[in-house]
């Protein structure tokens, strides 16, 4: 695990660069601190810019930085799921988390002494990710792949739209997002090997949060 001073020096020494693919001002941000607390960054500033994010990362020294998969009209109000319709969900990406253990081919784990990571496991994750991307590209074209900082990859489907899969219901906006994600996940599950029960549940959840690209996974070191 990285020391708090190491985390602070990472955010102050190198400017945080997040590609323009993500609209940060509409996202809900949370950070996990070293003492286990899970802090909402939007309670300090309603709409965060990249500079605000870098400042709070330097100040709080988080082990993990997350953002919501959905864009919100009022990201500062996001909290419990049953109140989420008052935050007005706009739209958002669909994210698949690919981990090597989902389809582990037999191999000897060789932990690199410098990186403490089995390269063969990462290679399996890469192959699984490519397979998922091929399937997703039958439906959507705008994909962004992010290394998770541990043993897998996140595939962000940026042009995912809930209206492709279900109708809009004004009284239940969260339900629309959930139904659309459920239908798409079930379709992907039949054609790929990356969904177990836990991965299926989080992929369907519209309140899901994922790691912000180019931030630090402080747990792994």
């Amino acid at each position: 695990m990285l020391s708090p001073s190491g985390i602070a020096s990472f955010y102050i020494d190198s400017p945080l660069k997040i590609p323009n693919l993500w609209k940060l001002s509409r996202r809900h941000f949370r950070v996990m601190l070293s003492d286990g607390r899970f802090v909402k960054l939007n309670k300090f500033v309603n709409r965060l810019s990249i500079r605000d994010l870098q400042f709070y990362c330097w100040k709080l020294k988080p082990l993990h930085v997350y953002f919501s998969v959905l864009n919100w009209l009022f990201p500062e109000r996001v909290g419990k799921k049953y109140k989420a319709r008052y935050c007005v969900p706009l739209n958002g990406e669909y994210v698949v988390d690919v981990d090597s253990y989902m389809m582990l081919f037999k191999h000897e784990h060789k932990l690199d002494p410098e990186w403490h990571v089995c390269q063969e496991c990462l290679d399996i994750s890469k192959r699984l990710t490519l397979q998922v991307c091929e399937v997703i590209e039958n439906y959507y074209s705008k994909l962004a792949i992010v290394f998770s900082g541990r043993l897998g990859f996140h595939v962000h489907v940026l042009d995912f739209h809930y209206k492709d899969w279900t109708k809009y219901r004004q009284e239940k906006p969260i339900w629309c997002h959930q139904t659309a994600r459920f239908k798409f996940t079930r379709l992907l599950q039949k054609q790929t090997f990356v969904f177990d029960k836990a991965h299926f549940i989080v992929s369907v959840d519209p309140m899901r949060i994922v790691t912000v690209p180019n931030t630090l996974n402080g747990k792994k070191g």
Binding site: M1, L2, S3, P4, S5, G6, I7, A8, S9, F10, D13, I18, P19, L33, S34, L60, K61, D112, E114, W115, V117, Q119, L122, D123, K126, T129, L130, C133, E134, E137, L143, A144, I145, V146, F147, S148, G149, R150, F153, H154, T211, V212, P213, N214, T215, L216, N217, K220, G221
Partner: protein, 70 residues
């Protein structure tokens, strides 16, 4: 490690795992100064006399400092 943005599918196909690990490794670059996380500094007794007077009471200023740090 850094959660690094890789790019699209073509970028992932071209990606070499060892290069990715080299780019994402932070420990050697951003180690910072040694700082105990688990309260081991208390066991070693570094803070035993910090901000205390002869009777062992903590000074008000020392309390404030302790509260201000996260």
């Amino acid at each position: 490690m850094i959660c690094k943005y890789v790019g699209g599918r073509e970028d992932l196909e071209r990606l070499s795992i060892s290069e990715l690990l080299e780019e994402c490794m932070t420990f050697s670059k951003f180690q910072g100064y040694p700082e105990p996380l688990d309260g081991s500094h208390k066991k070693l007794g570094f803070q035993s006399s910090l901000g205390k007077n002869r009777n062992g009471a903590v000074k008000k200023s020392a309390k404030n400092t302790a509260r201000a740090t996260w």
